[in-house]
Symmetry: C2
Subunit: 283 residues, 2 copies
Amino acid sequence: MASGRSHRPATRSRGIPEATVARLPLYLRALTALSERSVPTVSSEELAAAAGVNSAKLRKDFSYLGSYGTRGVGYDVEYLVYQISRELGLTQDWPVVIVGIGNLGAALANYGGFASRGFRVAALIDADHALTGRNVAGLPVRHTDELEDIIRDNQVSIGVIATPAGAAQEVCDRLVAAGVTSILNFAPTVLSVPDGVDVRKVDLSIELQILAFHEQRKAGEDLGEAVAAASAGEEKGGLAPRAKTAAAKAAAARTAAAKAVAAAAGKTKRPGPDGDVPAVMPA
Amino acid sequence: MASGRSHRPATRSRGIPEATVARLPLYLRALTALSERSVPTVSSEELAAAAGVNSAKLRKDFSYLGSYGTRGVGYDVEYLVYQISRELGLTQDWPVVIVGIGNLGAALANYGGFASRGFRVAALIDADHALTGRNVAGLPVRHTDELEDIIRDNQVSIGVIATPAGAAQEVCDRLVAAGVTSILNFAPTVLSVPDGVDVRKVDLSIELQILAFHEQRKAGEDLGEAVAAASAGEEKGGLAPRAKTAAAKAAAARTAAAKAVAAAAGKTKRPGPDGDVPAVMPA
DNA sequence: CTATGTGAATCGCTTCACAGCA
DNA sequence: TGCTGTGAAGCGATTCACATAG
């Protein structure tokens, strides 16, 4: 039943809001960069800019961790790096396994960002005997048969699934059964896991689809929208063929460029099944 | 200034909530699976389960698109597939470029999920002359010098950045200057883009860090928390060395297993700089 | 006088519960 | 009767604005 990113829906211990937790790594990265440049302190304003958020949010976020700043001055970079690292659990060493050593799995194995933040790739696992024994990113690929032993021997609690969609749930079940309680899922499937197991999902095609939605908004409305409007009014059952006109629309729209977009957004209507709905949000 | 996922903060045309947009691809995937099994209709309950959300949310989401269901019956699978596809802009063909053909870029180029949903990889681009000319996923890798020409010739409006962090902003600037208005960024950096350009970010190490946070919660509190509590009480400046004890904690905690987690969460306190903070949020 | 830390206002999303339609 | 569609309540996150501390 528990799946997706539902984090202990009822009993949130006392905690840091989930939205804040999701931003801590961002702050940490910005702080690490400052630290490397030997910058001693930052203001919330500067750090917020570096992390890509606004300063009020950043201050509120930090307030959940404690009062780590100095009024009139700012935050001590080194101190904050340590506090955030500790809060995120990065002062510890987390062994992870990557299951599914295809293109993506290999990319993950080679990804430097893991090792640099307390994550250690304990093993690479694949079901393909042609792969097992080979070296990827300096580690031997081991066979799925060994999965349970690997988890136990290395006391792995975090697993990364980079298998095809079809294999993901079974791999997930085995990981969980062997003791893994956090899963990062790259396979395009909804995983179901027991309570107490966290799943985070990274889905490349979903991200692109979200972009396409916004892109369509930018490009479409004032140009080729007759097409969409017409098909929207259709009776059920009449499925329109794929349009193939995006490039033309996009090109035309692109000429208008960035600034025009904001202006256009205001006078724009969405074609809906109900015909024309006036904009609800006044500018 | 505009960066991260801030989508037209003020002027939201009339629209579908962002949270809903982010779920549409999920529904679409579930529906596509049903369609392939020739299932004619689904109830909100069934579809919600397949997509990993609850049915109220799903119905509310669909209500933003229009009234596509039939009371007492459910939703017509084919019809809904089409409507969602159209809403997301997937009835069009979106040429994308991938910049940075390292491990990750290659993985993306090979990723089937792109092609299957209206996205066409128009070109692979890399700065490394050793790579250019080579074939990856059936496409020749082209040099960064050609970037602007490629964007224009193929009328590309969506770009994927899979370069090292250091190169990302410059690539981004060039993409935007050449006409790209949506960017999917895999590089661990905050990109700044002009208004009207959408950026979505996928950060592997951030996802892992979020998992680590929750993992630490599960494992830590009742076991080795003395360590964290002690160091939290320290004066500024005393940076504790990396702990390396995660595995031991995790192992011990894991024995207690999933069910214990929920129970433990209730009686747990966060160690803070101010010592002990009582739970602010009453259960 | 500057920049943090935080109550209070606001916003948007989720959930509830039921009216309305097939 | 069964399931959708949706006002209204609830809840968490963001933003505002200022008291507070250095």
